[in-house]
Subunit: 436 residues, 2 copies
């Protein structure tokens, strides 16, 4: 190497679209996860863990929809890469883009050693190489619960109550659960006269209703050449408040179906049970225009909205056919995922809550010969559950005291050369000013 070459100063920012989390936010994140985990564990859910890395053969089977285009792929090791000519030859592993596809693999791999039914909690990072934009990152945390092995809508009732409860305990008020069923969407599409083979395209357009309104949805459907009669019929339905704000039984009647059918009865049961158990904490509403993005849903789908968020803060549904593709036999499955980053964004805006643990700083000179007794003082406080920070006395003691105060230390004890403790005066004390 050139003797005169200087080491270039290295960029210390994280990779594009990734982020560092500062201590105060990590504390909020950890406290929030602990709260959610506690609610779920008390309901008998158990946390499971899968690796962050999965085989690309698993991640690219189509279950992930558009997310499969956003996979971070991992370079094969120890192979003659120069001979490889396309991505498939270069990579065989990828970072997971969600927690549902890995859950299906986990269940197929471990079902004999798992409780039946399995009530699983998953919390962890996922990665998507999305175009970086404000508030969206390429690594983010998901927080899912899933019930595998229960065909009854009791599973949906449990998931919705558990998730809404967890969000309530976090102090989120004004929550609305919106619910629909993929089979009702199919009934609507069939009633309007769309082609059965193109139902998915109809749902994808309808999914944008929040963003581009009914006229926009209809315009999009026309553009890609759905039958005009079907588009008009859908438009008419969307205009009827008896449809968009209906109870399932009313909509069934409007579509000429009998409300006694399993789909309609099931949905009504979920709404009634959740409604009765919700009390004043949250409400549940039937929304026949709700789609939820993923193609793997087969039955009820649901999400939770919060008054302060423009989009849902939790979403989920039933996906009875995903696990069968891996296991060889169908296992009914339902899941609900909290949009953890959105929840944190809401909680961050509220500012830092007082956690209530007393925080004391013990400040002493580096050369002290009384370290033993200072450590003993600290230990007594630790054993009482206090947060105790040991700090060397800095050159600018006034600033040091102010910094500690701003970090929430309500008591600062200074040890002198003889190891005698003395309380530092804080600006919040009567008399004010951080003297000493």
């Amino acid at each position: 190497m050139n003797e005169h070459a200087r080491e270039p100063k290295l960029d210390s920012t994280p990779p594009r679209g990734m982020r560092d989390v500062l201590p105060d936010e990590v504390e909020l994140r950890d406290r929030t996860l602990t709260t959610i985990l506690d609610v779920y564990r008390r309901r008998g859910f158990q946390r499971i863990e899968t690796p962050a890395v999965e085989n690309l053969t698993l991640l690219t089977r189509g279950e992930g929809g558009d997310n499969e285009k956003l996979i971070f792929k991992i370079l094969k090791r120890g192979e003659r890469l120069s001979a490889a000519r396309d991505t498939d030859e270069l990579a065989d592993l990828g970072l997971r883009f969600d927690l549902t596809v890995p859950l299906a693999r986990y269940y197929a791999n471990n079902h004999a050693r798992l409780p039946h039914p399995l009530k699983a909690i998953q919390i962890g990072p996922v990665w998507r190489a999305e175009r970086p934009q404000h508030g969206r990152f390429r690594q983010f945390t998901q927080c899912d619960i899933d019930i595998l092995g229960v065909r009854s809508e009791v599973a949906e009732i449990e998931l919705i109550l558990a998730t809404a409860d967890a969000l309530s305990v976090l102090g989120l008020e004004g929550l609305t659960v919106r619910i629909n069923d993929r089979r009702i969407l199919a009934s609507v599409a069939r009633y309007c006269g769309f082609e059965e083979a193109r139902f998915d395209a109809v749902f994808i357009a309808l999914d944008k209703l929040d963003k581009i309104d009914a006229a926009g949805v209809v315009g999009e459907l026309r553009k890609v050449g759905h039958p005009e009669r079907a588009v008009s019929a859908l438009m008419a339905l969307l205009d009827e408040s008896t449809v968009t704000a209906a109870a399932p039984a009313q909509l069934a009647q409007r579509l000429g179906e009998t409300a006694d059918g399993a789909v309609w009865r099931g949905l009504t049961r979920i709404i009634d049970a959740v409604s009765a158990a919700a009390g004043p904490r949250f409400r549940i509403a039937f929304d026949p225009t709700l789609v939820r993005g993923m193609a793997y849903y087969t039955g009820p789908i649901f999400e939770i909205r919060h008054q302060d968020a423009s989009s849902s803060i939790a979403g989920g549904g039933r996906y009875d056919r995903m696990i069968g593709k891996l296991l060889g036999r169908d296992v009914p499955a339902t899941g609900f995922s909290i949009g953890f980053e959105r929840v944190i964004a809401i909680l961050l805006e509220r500012g830092r809550p007082d956690v209530g643990v007393p925080k004391t700083a013990l400040v002493f000179e580096e050369e002290t010969s009384h370290l033993g007794s200072i450590l003993a003082t600290a230990r007594d406080l630790w054993d009482d559950g206090h947060i105790v920070l040991l700090e060397l006395k800095g050159k600018r003691f006034g600033k040091q005291v102010r910094d500690l105060e701003s970090r929430g230390f309500s008591r600062i004890v200074v040890f002198d050369a003889e190891g005698r403790p003395r309380e530092a005066e804080l600006s919040s004390d009567a008399g004010g000013g951080s003297t000493v």
Copy 2:
């Protein structure tokens, strides 16, 4: 696609060298992390988070030693990969192989918004593409604390006490802290007459003392051509119990140095302070043959051994020059990392402890019309902090009861068609046998 082609059954195992974690182990891992985190937080340490993915320019600067050969590299996106001919052109990101290199970058990137000194906790997965072997995985958890900005050995004292305390609180007994200083290793090498430029190679050989004993180390040093006189001098030192079980002052004397020097005084201060604070929970011993692998250490180095583990369960040291390379000015730094997977291996062998939370299962028929009152019963118990599992009554109720019992449910309440609760008889009850 060929109409007759069947979808091949997909392999449901995790990627090579990775693993799924079953619910009981996840619970133990979470409880262990919570305990460690609580001990650290009470001492004023704060958790920080960096992304799992870092730029390869950061990861391949030489700080990671051999770990840099084990990086999982991430394929670039949206580039003309076919034109790329070597790994450097194919990948610009990698999965982190430790938490220390990312910490240095984090500090350089965020220091203006961080407390000074920074007492950081990091807990998270790291990835190394090691040859898979029993009990070693390519994704594993590390749990580090670091103090950035403290030159005094008070930092080492805090780190050692905090880590040994955390391990003690986990119930690990018979802990020994071993401590040395890289500068003492240099004194020994200089005393023996090794070439200054080859000290690192001497330390790497010495690091294998536990595995290949003194004769093995000496043989290795001879093989790579170190001066025979130096090798013999080292062999003689290793044979002297006055050296291998010496106090720092004794070794200083033996090497013809004055024990008043900063290095010897500092080490003695750490040993004395830790020893006095340790009480009966653990002990600390000077070990002049201790090396610790990483090249970046500059001062005191230390590790913790447990009676049940053949290697250390925690390791760390001072690395005063790493951050300077990123920040442009030196920041003194010391860290201590718990080998979390080894700790879990020890705790797993002890079997499942009784967590003490009452666990009740509420069992009911799918068609019940009393779901509301069953949910109300559950809520009362949840609010009291119980774990309450809702379960549909299965076809084989006897087996269902036995399964629930084996999962620790000490109370099983069955609701009949009229919604009346009845306690199921458990095999552990007087009378035995899970009838009903």
